[in-house]
Symmetry: C2
Subunit: 433 residues, 2 copies
């Protein structure tokens, strides 16, 4: 049996998962890759930190050069996260002819092209399945299995924390703060949950998925982003009434030769497969011009699911027909130029919830303004009693319209004397175009 | 741009889809594969049959040797179906150094090992994504993306016809015959629907998936098979009452080092992702020891979805680091030996529906017999009025028990004077082990 020596950069959650998988599935990995995989070195910052896993002390190092300068190490697994020094380490490793597997979504979303180019020019393989949706093979899916397709649309539930929170709000009627607290108690949300609940994490992942699906470079700033902090139990109730649920979706669509890129809470029909993705599960729904509708569902995080993606990438490198000594990979990243749609022009159906004075003529004033901006209504709901301030809630559902039309008209509506506040605006996606 | 010449064996539904995709997605395919893909020849039986697609007449041939002996043809796409001459043609093509892409489930399920061995020994690539679940990349998923895992269980809705029929029965209360008729009218079921409704099609696909997932050779006769013809509206009603649905599942599980292989109607919880796979959609749910729960969902048939799988396989061959002239593929199929469980010993929970005389003591007699065979009951339901013959329906739900225990006890129960008939026995899968 041939042997291959690999190194790990980082021994956190994912690194531990990788060690566990390499150990427990050793026989399968040998049969499938044709190699005995040996961990040569593991780079950590603090040698003495407890790791919750039994790893020989001799493997642990704090000196990156021990890995960089060891020519017997052919594949390097980067699981440190963050931009630096992860970026610098990977570039240096590739200059030394080492193939790369990484789980680093932030780095890929911001500096991906530099890394891909280095891999291409050095004939190396660069794999990153673990960077999006943990154990779900969506990167491989798009990169290997859907290559016959023009991908037209992609919708992802790619952040487990927010999906857990929304599930709790939907199924148990919790408020956002309560649900977040529960997610933190369960270990699904971090002490500072900003990256998850404000949609930054999903934004990174959408940039990576879109780059791949549409063969282009995506600037992260071109991905529109809204978090879920403004979703209220009452919005969940209305969604239920419409036979819909609210999910934080990462969406990319090709529309009139432009790409729409956006992360925001979205009302989707209860019958849609994405609506039935609960708790911390992730899923990515893809429409291809040949394959039609396709969905991948699974665990988006966790040591073993993410480790599964990392180790499978290692095996893919070993099973490729590449010569590990000579770095003859011919897989290149051919990029297209794509235009990005301005979010203001991006069209959706919208749900608008407002609190207004309970008096005659209010609805007439509101619909007159919507008419002025060419926003056409599908339905209006007003029910329930006045609150203490004499306001009632009305909900408007629009036909397809641009964000600019909605924002402009809502701006004007909120200045009406009879309108107390526009409480929420949520996009609706019924997958019907 | 490099050019590669390919040949198609067969120009039916899938062949037409392949031609359409190669044409409409030409630019994407060139960028992704690095090759211009040219159809050199298409083998058909009848040159004059209308094909519903615009293909140059010079490409069409009825003479296989024109393909076999053309050394400029590097990849052959077999879409004829059936055992012979597909088998003989593929073997001959591989002897001439041609890589193979096939959609032939029947042939793979029965003679797969012979074909894989030929590919291995000739250093050729042999791809068959389209043989199971059409456009869903489940073969690639298992073969490329889940390689770090020991797969423990796999559950597939792999036959669109039966899923369409069961969906209609569930959602519209149709009887089996009516629903089948509708599936035939919609073009989802063939004039002779036996292969679908009796589970043969699913049996082939399960054999292919299990071979791959467990790295072993599966004899098709070791796959237990039951069709859906005995499912009645009343069974659907009871399932609904239990918050379950009935699906035709193809199941493989590893249990005590033995593989359970079975295709049968199964009651599953409404909340499970597989339960929400409707109409003619397919899905495959996999449990890996690292990745956890994973599901792939999409179109299991149709010219374009299946064509998507075929063309993506072609691109995978072109993108691999293989030298098309020298056939240096190093991917080998390493097989394990696996023991197969006897279906009599395979354990499930069971739903049993019987019609019995409406008189005191019947239930006591039945439970006494179940007790004798160590079958323990979870619930018993008796309701509704006597029918014309004075019978009432009772439904028994058991705890986990072997098929043999159920069949033996039901045999004895059905001989009771007070028992008119055991009307149905359906396995229950709650995914809890």
């Amino acid at each position: 049996m041939k042997k291959v020596r690999i190194a790990l950069l980082g021994l956190g959650n994912v690194g531990r998962g990788v060690c566990m998988i390499l150990n427990s599935n050793k026989e399968e990995i040998m049969k499938r890759s044709g190699y005995e995989v040996e961990i040569a070195k593991i780079l950590v910052r603090d040698k003495n930190k407890p790791r919750g896993i039994d790893v020989s002390k001799e493997l642990i190092t704090t000196d990156f050069n021990e890995i960089l300068n060891d020519d017997s190490i052919k594949v390097v697994l980067e699981m440190m996260g963050g931009i630096e020094p992860a970026r610098e380490y990977m570039l240096q490793c590739m200059d030394k002819g080492k193939h790369i597997v990484t789980a680093n979504k932030m780095l890929l979303a911001t500096n991906g092209d530099e890394l891909f180019e280095k891999a291409d020019s050095n004939g190396l393989m660069f794999k990153y399945e673990a960077s999006v949706a943990g154990g779900i093979p969506i990167i491989n899916g798009i990169d290997e299995s859907l290559t016959a397709n023009k991908i037209k649309e992609l919708y992802g539930i790619v952040n487990g924390t927010t999906n857990y929170i929304l599930t709790k709000m939907e199924s148990e009627g919790l408020g956002f703060d309560e649900a977040l607290k529960e997610a933190q108690d369960m270990g699904y949300a971090e002490a500072d949950p900003t990256s998850d609940i404000e949609g930054y994490d999903a934004q990174y992942k959408l940039a990576i998925l879109s780059s791949l699906a549409f063969g282009t470079k995506i600037d992260i700033d071109n991905v529109y982003r809204e978090g879920i902090t403004n979703i209220k139990p009452i919005d969940m109730d209305y969604a239920k009434e419409f036979k819909m649920v609210i999910k934080l979706l990462a969406i990319v669509k090709e529309n009139n030769e432009k790409l729409e890129l956006r992360v925001h809470p979205t009302m989707i029909p209860k019958k849609h497969p994405l609506a039935n993705v609960y708790d911390s599960f992730n899923a990515v729904f893809v429409k291809g011009n040949a394959v039609g509708d396709l969905m991948f569902y699974g665990r988006g995080a966790g040591d073993l699911p993410t480790g599964s993606a990392v180790v499978s990438d290692v095996i893919a490198i070993l099973r490729s027909n590449i010569d590990l000594e000579n770095n003859n990979s011919v897989v290149k990243n051919n990029l297209w130029d794509r235009k990005i749609a301005d979010i203001k022009e991006v069209k959706s159906k919208f749900y608008i919830r407002a609190s207004v004075l309970d008096e005659p003529g209010v609805l007439g004033e509101i619909t007159a303004i919507l008419g002025k901006y060419n926003v056409s209504l599908r339905s209006v709901i007003q029910k329930g009693d006045q609150n203490e301030e004499g306001n009632v809630t009305i909900v408007l559902v629009t036909h397809t319209t641009s964000q600019k039309q909605i924002y402009d008209s809502c701006n004007e509506i909120s200045s009406l004397r009879s309108v107390n506040n526009i409480d929420n605006i949520i996009r609706i996606e019924d997958f019907k175009n």
